[in-house]
């Protein structure tokens, strides 16, 4: 199988879906002639032209409105927010409109909109270009939230998101963009709403999302040397999330650690922890642990940024904690 980068996998998904369906179009800042700040839309402008790969003004609310309105009349827009932080300019369109129009109209309309955005920190861009806001959107009824952790899922999930009839926030961790992996060619789809066990283990279930998946796999490799066998679950879709796969694993291991890049307080990990204890409290040997981003705006200096973000060592430490009780 061909080895390509995470960015190339996303690009392939977009290209294939645009070839398959002439109603798929892309809109965002610098997505056209430049091919996107992170090159996700590279070469698509040349193949599909300016109408289907639309360079927009710096107008996030209008970009989102373009997506919502386009979706309402039956096209399939894929809009890009250059950084997830910028979505705040467009929150009204995403939360008040995209997520609610189907419901408010009693099921009369659907909004097949994909909003892609790079998420989280790790490249020194500071407090307004590094936020992990997935919990905000997972909180909103009517939104789906997807976050791939490897190139093959990046491709398969993006293709599924484009074919989904609901608004999907598609989050891409910048630190994963360069990651290389095997990606099936052709029409490869990964269904939304299904987690994947990325490593089988018997002692601790680690539930991870996005960048924290490879980080948890690395932690699991380290812990294996201490004869601690970690099972790593990649949620892949954060909303609606695959609770069954999580519970099945926790019932087997009796210990769980939930890892997420977002802030700890009221964060995404809290939802998973709460669901685990609600459903299988008596299967647990120890309290469920959270490993989350620090409750701080993202600082810029490398040493500070590292301190604020989830690390492999945090995951290792948390797994040791649940094993020591």
């Amino acid at each position: 199988m061909r080895q390509i980068t995470f960015v190339e996998a996303l690009n392939q998904a977009l290209q294939e879906e645009m070839r398959r369906d002439p109603l798929v179009f892309i809109a965002g800042e610098d997505v056209g002639k430049m091919g996107g700040l992170f090159k996700v839309t590279q070469n698509l402008f040349d193949e599909f032209g300016p109408e289907r790969v639309l360079d927009t003004p710096i107008s996030e609310a209008a970009i989102a409105g373009l997506g919502v309105g386009g979706a309402l009349v039956g096209t399939r827009p894929v809009i890009e927010f250059q950084f997830l932080d910028f979505v705040m300019i467009a929150m009204d369109q995403i939360v008040n409109h995209a997520a609610k129009l189907r419901y408010m109209t009693g099921g009369m309309v659907s909004v097949p909109l994909v909003a892609r955005a790079p998420v989280s920190g790790g490249i020194g861009l500071g407090a307004q270009h590094s936020q992990s806001l997935e919990a905000w959107f997972a909180h909103v009824p009517g939104m789906k939230v997807v976050m791939p952790a490897c190139p093959s899922d990046a491709k398969g999930l993006l293709k599924s998101a484009i074919r989904d009839d609901n608004p999907v926030l598609f989050l891409e961790h910048r630190r994963l963009y360069g990651q290389i992996g095997e990606v099936p060619e052709g029409d490869y789809l990964v269904p939304l709403g299904r987690a994947e066990v990325k490593r089988v283990g018997t002692d601790v279930t680690v539930v991870a999302t996005g960048r924290t998946v490879p980080l948890s796999l690395a932690a699991a490799g380290k812990l294996a040397q201490e004869a601690i066998e970690i099972e790593v679950i990649d949620l892949r879709t954060l909303k609606p999330f695959d609770l069954e796969t999580v519970l099945e694993s926790v019932r087997k291991t009796s210990r769980a650690v939930v890892v997420n890049d977002g802030w700890r307080t009221c964060g995404y990990a809290a939802e998973i922890v709460a669901s685990i204890q609600e459903e299988c409290f008596y299967d647990l040997d120890t309290p469920v642990q959270r490993v989350c981003g620090g409750d701080t705006p993202m600082p810029v200096a490398a040493v500070l940024e590292r301190a604020a973000m989830v690390s492999e060592d945090n995951v290792v430490a948390s797994c040791r904690t649940v094993m020591s009780v």
């Binding site: 109603l23 179009f25 109408e51 289907r52 927009t56 003004p57 107008s59 609310a61 209008a62 989102a64 409105g65 373009l66 997506g67 919502v68 309105g69 386009g70 979706a71 309402l72 009349v73 039956g74 096209t75 827009p77 300019i89 009204d92 369109q93 008040n96 409109h97 129009l101 189907r102 419901y103 408010m104 109209t105 009693g106 099921g107 009369m108 309309v109 659907s110 097949p112 009824p141 009517g142 789906k144 989904d164 009839d165 609901n166």
Partner: protein, 324 residues
């Protein structure tokens, strides 16, 4: 752009009169139903502004779309939605357009091109632009009409949407319903420059400022804008000067507007003005107009009856229609 066959719209005076009366009677009935405690929530009434929706929608073709506002009943009626199902929606009944989930502020009918009323001031404007973009991509010759109030022209979404529509010469007609007041803030107190129409010039968008209580003046301006849009000449803006007779919503008890101002505008009643015009120009005899008014009363009585007889939705349906 390849133009599909679209019939030139022309205004039918008696149909305009009928629609304005229907909106007036519908909204007046809402006041009564609200006093009877039959409405769970609120409603923003269109009384006094009927000429805008009716004049503008008369310029629309079947293939056209519109986005509406929180004050949206008039647009829906003028676009031919069924007053019975609208009334059922406002009363929270299963036969309502949104099965009770939307209420007064979210009535929609995609089959008639009504993309939805909207509870967020300025929220529908970028959606209209997106719809126009999508429809052009689908090779439709549709025009999208975006209704909004003067207050929305101070939202960022208005400016972002006008700019985006202009650079792509999208087939959008922006229709500003300037009813002079937000809830308690007057237009001139809140709007630098004192004109929404003039703001369009900054985006190279042609604009007209018309008497929004003159149904034919609204029709003429909007029809002109629609022709331009359909010909690929891009968006236009029509600012319609009017006034709401009632409070901001049926909730609003405290009235800050000067009573003399309200009375002055009531003397410019768009329906009475049009009645006089039709009679003076001998377009219609008085008894024809009275007949229309009687028919409208029957329509509204039927709508109320239909709504009251419609069941409330099943409580479990609160958890349906969240995802497609």
């Amino acid at each position: 752009m390849q133009a599909n066959q679209v019939e030139e719209s022309e205004v039918s005076p008696l149909e305009c009169f009928r629609q304005m009366c229907l909106i007036r009677a519908f909204e007046s009935e809402i006041l009564v139903l609200n006093q009877q405690g039959l409405i769970n929530g609120t409603a923003h009434l269109y009384i006094g502004m009927e000429a805008i929706a009716v004049g503008a929608c008369a310029a629309m073709a079947e293939c056209d779309f519109l986005t509406s506002t929180h004050r949206g009943h008039g647009h829906c009626i003028a676009r031919g939605l069924d007053p019975r199902r609208m009334m059922a929606e406002i009363l929270g009944r299963a036969d309502g357009y949104c099965h009770g989930k939307g209420g007064s502020m979210h009535i929609a009918d995609i089959t008639k091109g009504v993309l939805g009323a909207d509870g967020i001031v300025g929220g529908g404007i970028p959606i209209a632009v997106g719809a126009a973009y999508g429809l052009r991509m689908k090779k439709k010759s549709s025009v999208v009409f975006s209704f909004f109030g003067e207050g929305a022209s101070n939202q960022g979404s208005f400016h972002e949407a006008l700019n985006l529509s202009a650079i792509h010469r999208l087939p959008v007609v922006f229709i500003c319903e300037n009813n002079q007041w937000a809830l308690s803030a007057s237009f001139l107190e809140t709007t630098a420059g004192g004109s929404v129409a003039k703001r369009a010039a900054a985006y190279g968008i042609s604009a007209e400022d018309v008497d929004g209580n003159d149904v034919e003046a609204v029709f003429t301006a909007v029809a002109r804008a629609t022709t331009r849009a359909r010909a690929g000449l891009g968006p236009s803006l029509v600012e319609c000067q009017s006034y709401r007779w009632e409070g901001h919503s049926v909730f609003t008890r405290h009235e800050i507007r000067p009573q003399e101002e309200v009375e002055l505008w009531k003397q410019r009643d768009p329906i009475e003005r049009y009645r006089r015009k039709l009679l003076e120009s001998r377009t219609s005899a008085a008894e024809n107009l009275q007949k229309i008014e009687a028919e409208v009363r029957t329509d509204i009585a039927e709508a109320v009856e239909f709504a009251k007889n419609s069941s409330p939705p099943d409580g479990r349906s609160a958890f349906e229609d969240i995802f497609a």
